[in-house]
Amino acid sequence: MNRFNVKRIPASWDGAALRRFSRSTAAMLLCVVVAGYLALGVASSGSFFEGPSVRVFLQYLATPILIGLAQMVALCVGQLNLAVGALGGFTACLMGVLMADHGVPAGLAVIVGLLTATAIGLVTGLVIVATQINGFIVTLATMTILLGAQYRLTGTRTVDGYSPTLRDLGTAAPLNIPLVFVTALAAAALLAAFMYRTVAGRRLLAAGGNPLAARLSGISTDRQIVAAHTLSGLLIGVAAVTATASLPGVNRSVGGDWLLPSFAAPIIGGVALTGGSIAVFGTVLAAFVTRLIDAARAQFSLDPSWVNLLIGLVVLGTVAGGRLHQTRLGKTGGTAAPPAEGGKQPPAVLPQPGGAR
């Protein structure tokens, strides 16, 4: 009986859906974003609402959104992708070197970059499935390899003599809304459509939510792991394109600080590390929150270290608060037992040791 009730919930759209949304992580994040933005605007006596400020704010929001989404795709099948920053940096440097040193036209270089990133994601997924080594370790290894490759490509110089067209596109902002930001939003929308509306997307979620059940219903979990890493690679490729287009130049430090934000966005956005759940909107909003912290830091000209400290505390607060909230719900509901003291969740960290069996 209970099961049928659960099934019928999505059907009753009137009110119930709205009420559910108002309790969700996304709604809370939305409030935080709006409140934070208004507070910053007031603190800067209005200058934060003006065109140039908005443009700069959104300009540097594209990359966090995209890397957060890339990580989210890996998380949704229960995998981790530690190579986010290294792959992004490598792809950005590859495109920069192709354009600046080898005179490859910008369009071709972007396509090559996207294909390379996708291919590396594909190889990572294949290695995980073929060797059955834990995805954590495999991406740790690919991260090391790619960091070396990136250093080898650029050395200590900064590649900046590449296509002015691409750079114009990167800084172009009709109506003060940068194109790179629009790109990131479009990628998020496409990803959401893919995940929520297509069979392939549902398969990814099924394989992440319960690998055994997915396998029994005829879904190859191996193939889903490969697909997730490929998609993750593609999104990182897009992130690298936006970074190359909007940065003044690419060097070996590009991507170096992507890893932590890439985890922060999905986790704050409400994605479970165990796999099987995604939150595209939540991830985008969480990227907004981290960007707000950065903007506030710049506004009050504080030490950049504050950003890390605050993001760390926000993530800790989010996960602890979310867990306490669940516990309280469980208590008032009286049915679901609150998680017993003494976090028995270790498999949650790495739900699929060695890919899939």
Partner: protein, 354 residues
């Protein structure tokens, strides 16, 4: 992995590879052979590799420090958790040691104790958060990494002028540069290749070996890692074991931070920046399972030594810094794939024979 099925039997050094597996499956033996073979190979290719004072001494000092880092990771892995904040906990601990020397004028051992206490405290906070909220250790330590990264740099820039404590207590220079050759018992002197700082590593290894091999608490830690639900049902206070594991992990990370600071001579925020990768490399190559329940103290040393030897050897062969990482990543993948193949092959053999 077949060894993870019966954790209590497979824990200590000798028994690990299971009862009926052929001896060549033993990961630690393979590692030892690999380390020795590679050292000989590099020694033949570049005789300078065997220079005791100029090459082996710094190599062993690095290996000593990184082994402690890997042990810190191993302790967290033993309960099936991870500690992504090892590097930052090292920086955090080292900062307190530097603060003690600089502001309070503490003698060296007191500073070390302060450092260890700070590391254990931050580890305990992490463990408490994980045990209390039940959130995945990956997320909590990642957030802790963020938070400490900010906090440590902020404190350094607030407390010092050039973002480093440079006051050195008496004895720390000796710790850095002394080898066994400087400590003579009468006419018998040790090798000039073995640094004195390795004493901490040996202490940590002996302590952990005893903990996991001979004590009830060690067994309970492993059981918590192997199967938390079963551990809880058999009356093990898993929450407290998780707390203990993270406290120990923080303590060892702080010890590694102190060793790294003693090795470079200054206490600065960048200590531990590059600890995360070696910590996993050493522990995982040594045979510790990421899923928890199986640890290997000796294997951790050998895994770290293997990485150190490859790094140094390639460096001497003239492989540039930029390519070093590429090779290291490939070696990691190859080593783990080889291990996997070996396990599968030997498992089939055992199955066929029975």
């Amino acid at each position: 992995m077949t060894t993870s099925i019966s954790p209590p039997d497979t824990v200590p050094e000798e028994k690990a590879a299971g009862h009926r597996m052929p001896f060549w499956v033993n990961q630690r033996l393979g590692l030892l052979v690999l380390v020795v073979a590679l050292s000989v190979l590099f020694g033949v290719l570049r005789p300078a590799f065997l220079d005791q004072r100029l090459v082996l001494f710094p190599l062993l000092r690095d290996v000593a420090t990184l082994t402690v880092v890997a042990l810190a990771q191993m302790v967290a892995l033993s309960v099936g958790h991870m500690n992504l904040a090892v590097g930052r906990m090292a920086a955090f601990g080292a900062m307190f040691a530097g603060l003690g020397y600089d502001r309070l004028g503490l003698p060296m051992p007191a500073g070390l104790l302060l450092c260890l206490a700070a590391g254990a405290a931050i580890g305990a906070v992490t463990g408490w958060l994980i045990a209390r909220t039940g959130v995945s250790s990956f997320v909590v330590t990642l957030a802790m990494d963020f938070a400490l990264l900010g906090l440590v740099s902020l404190l350094y820039s607030a407390l010092t002028e050039d973002a480093a404590f440079t006051t050195r207590p008496s004895g720390i220079d000796e710790l850095r540069s002394y080898s066994l050759a400087d400590i003579c018992a009468g006419p018998v002197c040790g090798s000039p290749a073995v640094p004195q700082i390795a004493q901490f590593t040996v202490l940590a290894m002996v302590g952990l070996g005893f903990l996991y091999g001979c004590t009830r608490i060690g067994r309970e830690l492993l059981l918590t890692g192997a199967n938390p639900a079963a551990a809880e049902l058999s009356g093990i206070p898993t929450g407290r074991r998780v707390l203990l594991a993270h406290t120990l992990s923080g303590l060892l990370a702080a010890l590694a931070g102190f060793m790294a600071a003693a090795g470079t001579g200054t206490f600065r925020a960048s200590i531990g920046n590059d600890f995360m990768l070696p910590s996993f490399l050493g522990a995982v190559l040594g045979g510790t399972l990421l899923t928890g329940g199986v640890v290997s103290v000796l294997g951790t040393l050998l895994g770290t030594a293997l990485v150190g030897v490859i790094r140094k050897g390639l460096d001497l062969l003239g492989v540039g810094l930029e390519s070093l990482n590429i090779y290291l990543g490939c070696v990691l993948l190859l080593a783990l794939s080889a291990d996997r193949i070996r396990t599968v092959v030997s498992y089939r053999k055992v199955v066929r024979e029975t």
